[in-house]
């Protein structure tokens, strides 16, 4: 297992760095164009299990390599880098575009909008590569949308693992939960 750090991994616990998956709001993760609904939830796991496919993996529909993954977080996070483990035989994604803090993006939106950052990916079957973000743009991320627009020639796109590295703040995005509009104060509403 090779990391990009210049030390041997046996000493350092790489898992601790890639721990942002703890802050992903997994029940609310949504993917578009996945062949098995709900399979996207299985790609967020600890670093050690990144090659473990027993929990399932994310696969796109036949003949269509595009994938869109919407990742909400339980609190605002700062993302330093992203790692993607793809499938073999050309099913790894080759291009990734990221959008921040926008809900309800679908494919036509994703193709037309300017992403916050875009990367050319390489085939990364061991999870050894990580892609740095422009950190200043990835502060205070409440949700992240990743659009995988292309792959290396396969019929479908497979993703086994999405790793996020960064820091979690304790801030929560302002969500207006319940408001009671009153013309006159009514104590019974405030119990």
């Amino acid at each position: 297992m090779a990391c990009l750090h210049d030390h041997s991994c046996e000493d350092h616990n790489c898992a601790a760095d890639w721990s942002l998956y703890n802050h992903v709001d997994i029940p609310k993760v949504v993917a578009l164009n996945e062949s098995v609904p709900g399979s996207v939830k299985s790609v967020f796991k600890p670093w050690e299990q990144r090659l473990d496919t027993s929990g399932g993996f994310l696969e796109s529909n036949e003949g269509d390599p595009e994938l869109l993954v919407f990742i909400p977080f339980t609190s605002d996070v700062k993302i330093k880098s992203i790692s993607i483990v793809g499938g073999a035989d050309g099913t790894s994604p080759s291009r990734m575009r990221a959008f921040i803090n926008r809900e309800g993006i679908d494919f036509s939106d994703a193709q037309n909008m300017q992403p916050v950052q875009e990367w050319e990916l390489a085939e990364n079957l061991q999870g050894a590569l990580e892609y740095q973000t422009r950190y200043s743009r990835f502060q205070g991320v409440a949700n992240l949308t990743l659009h995988f627009s292309d792959n290396f020639g396969g019929d479908i796109t497979k993703i086994y693992y999405i790793g996020l590295r960064g820091e979690a703040t304790q801030n929560k995005r302002d969500v207006v939960a319940t408001i009671v509009y009153e013309v006159m104060p009514n104590p019974s509403d405030h119990k």
Binding site: L32, N33, N61, D106
Partner: protein, 385 residues
């Protein structure tokens, strides 16, 4: 998002009073059901023909607005299915609450002029954007329309979220047929609105077993279903036992049992209405034992009743009551004196029903029963309690 077909084909009267009216009723019913089942649901309506593909009301949860826009709709021109689905997709994309699931319900009454391939591409695009599609296929049905629409649904469907319903013309109103389909019941498994509408609409033979709606009265429906299953089990047991017995009395009793099944069924049903007040199984087994000991009848009828009760009587006290009555009816054919005992027995059983705290598992009670009955059968059904 509901797509209405208001093309010229809708003037036809093969659905009473006209296809368009039947469709409008069905749409109203669906809107009501959806808005009631979840307060965050929104419904929009658009036309596929008439003045063109246009959205009459954008997705809203206000039922009055939706019903109002259905007024004054004109019938004419031809339906444009592909454009309509695209417009519906766009309307859904710009919904206010992005958390809502997207669904299109299309009423397709006119012939479909598109290729299967084109429809499949449309379906794939819907599936890619996670939009579910329900199709109500009614009205015109040329040779290929059902297959084309099935292919469309197959292309859109992901994990059974899309459905298709074919409604042939006939006596049943379009809305009644739709009430029992997954388009209405959806994933929640039956909203209260749809269920109560079904109960009101159906007169005698509704879609539900026994004519009782499980949503309206779950206990009664459950009781009826249980008694039906036990009745079936009892029938098999008695038929088996009747086949084994060689006494000529059993020829009479088996034929009587067959006729008595029909009588016992309504008796069981009537008894089921009082299910809440029935005693525990223990009390009823005791009452069976005591009643049988009092009957002191022939061993043939006792063994018939015993086999039946041993197999089914442990579960349902009402069934036990019916069993007694049917056994008594069998005895009546052979022994006219039993009629008095029948009345006495029902009197006794009613007394025993009201006795609290009688526990047949008590050793002293067991000994009493063994001495009264003097046969092995008592032990056999006491084990079951």
């Amino acid at each position: 998002m509901i797509c209405i077909d208001n093309s010229e084909w809708m003037r036809n009267g093969d659905y009473a009073p006209s296809r368009f009216q039947a469709q409008a009723d069905a749409v109203n019913l669906i809107c009501g059901a959806k808005t009631q089942s979840n307060p965050e649901n929104t419904v929009g309506v658009m036309t596929m023909a008439g003045k063109g593909v246009r959205v009459l009301v954008t997705p809203t949860s206000d039922l009055g607005k939706i019903l109002a826009c259905m007024h004054g709709l004109e019938v004419g021109a031809e339906a444009n299915l592909a454009a309509a689905i695209q417009v519906a997709q766009l309307a859904l994309k710009h919904r206010q609450n992005k958390r809502q699931q997207q669904r299109i319900i299309a009423f397709i009454g006119s012939p479909v002029k598109y290729d299967k391939k084109v429809l499949e591409t449309i379906g794939k695009k819907l599936k890619k954007n996670n939009v579910a599609l329900d199709i109500v296929d009614f009205g015109e049905s040329d040779d290929e329309k059902p297959e084309k629409l099935e292919a469309l649904i197959a292309a859109v469907n992901s994990s059974d979220s899309s459905h298709i319903v074919h409604v042939p013309p006939g006596d049943n109103a379009l809305s009644d047929v739709l009430l029992s389909t997954p388009i209405f019941t959806g994933e929640e498994g039956g909203s209260g609105f749809a269920a109560s509408a079904a109960a009101a609409a159906a007169t005698g033979a509704s879609g539900f077993e026994f004519g009782v709606d499980p949503n309206v009265d779950p206990e009664l429906a459950l009781a009826l279903r249980l008694s039906m299953e036990e009745e079936r089990a009892r029938q098999e047991a008695i038929a088996k036992k009747a086949a084994e017995d060689t006494e000529n009395k059993d020829h009479a009793s088996s034929s009587n049992n067959d006729s008595v099944m029909a009588e016992a069924e309504p008796a069981t049903n009537a008894a089921d209405d009082d299910k809440k007040e029935q005693p525990k199984d223990d009390d009823d087994l005791l009452q069976q034992a005591l009643a049988m000991s009092m009957e002191g009848g022939s061993s043939g009828s006792a063994s018939v009743a015993d086999a039946a009760m041993a197999e089914a009587g442990a579960v349902d006290p009402d069934l036990a009551l019916a069993l007694q009555m049917s056994v008594q009816d069998a005895n009546m054919s052979s022994d006219s004196d039993m009629s008095k005992v029948f009345e006495d027995r029902s009197f006794v059983t009613s007394i025993l029903n009201s006795l609290p705290g009688v526990d047949p598992n008590d050793p002293s009670v067991k000994d009493l029963l063994a001495s009264l009955h003097g046969q092995g059968e008592v032990r056999s059904f006491l084990f079951l309690s």
